[in-house]
Symmetry: D2
Subunit: 370 residues, 4 copies
């Protein structure tokens, strides 16, 4: 078998945001990976993995069927993607990072160094549609894997493969990227931390990551938006902003604090709700800045829809001020006892339902509005 | 973490036939593995893997939910089964060999050496029901994994996890074992090889295996039937015996030959059909010898049911001669375009349907006849 | 058998709004009917039916299972609801008007005169929950029955039995009433007719009906809201208001005219959208006036959700002005190629999906907010 | 509208066995009826109905969608099949007798006299495949309609529309006929009555019917087998023969008696089982006599499959003696708690499953064996 550095491979398709470097290629976000069309009996890939707390997991798809999903232990080593196959048939192979970018573990990284193949690389089809998904634990697939009683917050329960993102992309024959972080929101995280909001890191390749190593891999670089302009941006945020109203005040060592408040009767404090709506509106402005022509769809509701009125208000306000018509809101089906997974999060059945509704909606959108 | 040889573990449940040795424990048949109840944050397992042609794959279940499935590369190494979990909760952990015993690769082996845990082992529930499944590629889960267009005969497409055996056992809350070999039958293999019939190897621990190494691991020892008496034996054989009628004559280098013949009008040759029926009858005699009280159910039909009349005749004859009433026949649902998997074999939907029908039938059986 | 006028029946449950009279009892709205618990071998009912254009249809349920659905021809006659049954068991029997109140046919009426029974009437369980559904053709079940290619606007395609209203009520163990009129909206009908809006007829028993006969039956009387206060009001309106934007101007013989306009770019005219929102807001005010404590849920989206932002705005405005917190919005699943029925309307699969989502939502609502 | 006697209608398709007369046309068996393609706004049909105990029910299909199902009261009267439709479109209309031929009620009859139409009759497609179903209560659709708790034996619970017969025929695009009688078997009825076996009445148009009126309608005439030769005959019998083993002895006033016996250990008495098998064999001989080229499929198992071994033996014996290869056996899925209907009979879910398995099997049969 011959060994190829990634930049020596003639036909290589990269999924997910990168800083451009291929030596090595870091897989930052959940759902990121590489795709190859190969002839040859055997295919190997060299990865390098590190972590302190949260290990990455890897999914492998052969001809669009998932064949494996495994924990990646520390070290630099070769993984076999397939072996013993007919040399002369073309195999479409895709590896996919199953676990979200881990803000809480600066050591966590997964990079691809090289590929071994006795055979040929072939061109890979470019999909006609591109979708970017932006979300939280739901979009990270937290709880898709695991028994319902599981409560630990660990990598094992995350899945990018059995996830409404991949299912929706498949239904629409689209390429896709995911930006998502468990517990984070538009304005604050579930526990009122204003530093843990997705919007403020959106411009960076993977701004939620921490530590020097990730910086070295390019996580903090400006993202090259021109290189990949989505046709659709799906924002599935708000669930943690709602939790913030029901969680204690956040306070850091420097004495900063934040709290989204409820009124005594259990309704949202008007002022804090306004702050949330302003955050939605500002995020839309930012999204439009970087995604000039995309349909932006705020798709929300898989774990309750308490903030839906506020989201509608914010989108309304944005539309009026901007005259931007390509922004809309979609309610996703709520998770029920039957469709719940681990950690009280949407299970695979909930993801399937969400993908079904979302696909129908997006399909209409691109067919009627373009 | 503390390291335990398997025989140092107080509570260890072994799935699948073994020769008794725990140092190491070979996982011979598909569906075999070990099960543990553990406290502690982290659990590792030391495996040793070898093969020339067909590598083993491993599935991992935590609290009955599958969390991973991966190819096992050559070597002796540690795998992490979970990490970062709450130390004080009890986790039920089960590893399962995903790939059948590989008769065609004497080098193929998978053994478990040891376990690492900082914590406690706890007792594991004994199931009230025990089922033994005996079959061919269908029972080996060939084609459950992989795209429909796949044609290579490789380990990757086999699955013990998404398989009617495990699904049926779960539905009945049973422990189970599998004896199965792709391409093999009751009288001959699909290509008329009379050496490749399951019955002639049934008494051995894993008689279908070849090579000195496997012999050393105990594969050719007499199985200790007293140690594990099933309540139900499901025999899903006949599919390859039918293929034999439609395949060319088998001939070996020593000049031996065999052919199950069709008449000119496409019907089965009477004499050869008789030989098949005698083989079924003899296998029932043997099964009863080793399984004194089990219900024996010949469950057939997932890939056509052309030999069903012959199976009914053979079972009839056996029942008459033996006065053994605990033997019956069940037709399983045929695989269709909608339910087919890779390599024209039953896909996961076909396995689910089979498990549904089989569970209903077995449930009736144990409730009315015992 | 003994004949009973309705007012002679000791235990009689009436579904749907009435003007109080029982001699005879008119079944005005779709889903209305009577319910009896009876002993006795045989049960008959005397109906009187008339129409010029649109005949009524009747559904019969025995012990909650639908046993028949039939066209009702003109005349006064007896229908047998069951016969040949065990005299001593209690049968729950319910008849249900399958077709909406027919504004377009003043002659259309269906009344119940009497019941024949050799046996006993028994008490009927009062449900703990009451729901009122207000809607248009969707809520009238138009298109639930019939082949997809049907285009005629006739009674035959309407169904109250296979309808999200009945399914939701069953899921929540609720009694329910329906106010619905095909083609009508909150502000105007689908063709911009401002006289065909549900709100302006809401106070009457069945104000949408026309003609002297219906007036004689009490259709134009004030509804007695105190007699039946719902716990939940579901409003499924807006679909025809959206159509109005895409339909030609309405103009009557007196020279009155109306048109909900689109801007040149296809977006809604601001002024006309405001008028729609004001209509929603005013309807909420009216609904609250008559339903003091009910949760009001605007449930919309089974045939597209173009007016959802406007509905959210209107509900928002109402909530702010009124401080009424028991008003919310729910998006129902859109109808797709797979779930569509006759006349491009939601089919039974779409109604089932809607009922599923709506039930989950309402269940949460009554469990968390009461 | 113009009135047509049936023999004046240019294009008329009759479903079900008849004695040839059209003035009037008796609908003897369940599933029988007429089919028309009509232009015109309105269509009526004149029926004449009688009964003492068991009334007939009627189903109506417009363009293959069921629109109604109703009890037919005594008398001669006109039923409207549709009204208010577009005059210029072609409507396919089919009426279907929902209830089996009622052996127990000599008065029970349903005949069609005439049709009223202002418009045109058009040719009706001849299906390429013809299927005859022969069975008992299962094939009569007993229990498809009604709540699970129902126990009365009445017409209301029968359905020809939601039935594996119609579903299978639709799946294969076939015309079909049904010969079925609740409680009857191959050798005896469920209560050991040897006069109530289907085979001895097979040659007559509807030999199970009693009374002079039915005789006058032609029920006891020899059936004209040449006029309608099926491609497939499905025999779903054996369920009541099994019940006979578990029911008390039958004895009539003339002192005749019969009892299918169980041995003390609960197994079938050999001699009586032989009698059953002989009855199966003889029925096959008779079926082949009248159906020269049809595939004959004994499809059994929807309410248990205790007699399956005996059926296989009998079919085997028949095949050997006759050299007839177009006879086979298929096990249908057993009914479970989830799929059961009223009166402990298969519900609609069970019929759907049966139709699915049967369609797949028959489809293979006609594609590979013809």
């Amino acid at each position: 078998m011959k060994e190829y550095k990634l930049d020596e491979i003639k036909y290589l398709k990269i999924h997910g945001r990168t800083a451009g470097s291929l030596s090595p290629l870091p897989l930052f976000w959940t759902g990121s990976g590489i795709e190859l069309n190969t002839k040859g009996a055997e295919l190997w890939i060299e990865v390098e993995v590190d972590y302190e707390l949260y290990e990455p997991w890897l999914g492998v798809f052969i001809n669009s069927a998932q064949v494996s999903r495994q924990m990646l232990l520390k070290g630099r080593y070769w993984l076999c993607l397939y072996r013993g196959m007919n040399e002369s048939t073309v195999k479409n192979v895709r590896i996919i990072r199953e676990v979200q970018a881990m803000n809480g573990d600066p050591a966590c990284s997964l990079v691809v160094h090289a590929v071994r193949l006795e055979g040929e690389f072939l061109p890979i089809e470019e999909k006609k549609l591109k979708i970017e998904f932006i979300g939280d634990s739901i979009t990270s697939g937290e709880g898709v894997v695991g028994a319902k009683e599981e409560e630990d917050w660990i990598s094992m329960w995350f899945s990018a493969s059995e996830n409404y993102t991949l299912l929706t992309a498949n239904a629409l024959k689209a390429d896709y990227r995911v930006i998502s972080e468990s517990g984070w929101g538009v304005l604050t995280s579930w526990d009122n931390n204003p530093d843990y909001s997705i919007p403020q890191y959106y411009e960076k390749v993977c701004g939620v990551l921490t530590g020097e190593k990730n910086e070295g891999l390019g996580a903090q670089k400006e993202n090259d938006f021109d290189a990949w302009q989505p046709d659709i941006v799906v924002v599935n945020l708000g669930t943690n902003d709602n939790s913030a109203f029901n969680s204690p005040e956040w306070r850091d060592e420097a004495g900063r604090s934040h709290k989204q408040r409820l009124n005594e009767d259990g309704s949202f404090n008007e002022e804090d709700l306004d702050a949330f709506e302003a955050a939605v509106e500002n995020f839309l402005i930012k999204l439009r800045k970087y995604n000039k022509t995309a349909h932006i769809v705020w798709a929300y509701g898989m774990l309750g829809n308490a903030l839906m009125p506020a989201i509608y208000r914010a989108v309304d306000k944005y539309r009026k001020l901007s005259s931007d018509k390509k922004v809309s809101v979609l309610q996703l089906p709520d998770t029920t006892e039957k469709t719940v997974g681990a950690r009280s999060h949407p299970g695979i059945l909930s993801h399937k339902k969400a993908a079904e509704e979302l696909s129908v909606y997006l399909n209409k959108l691109i067919n009627t509005m373009n």
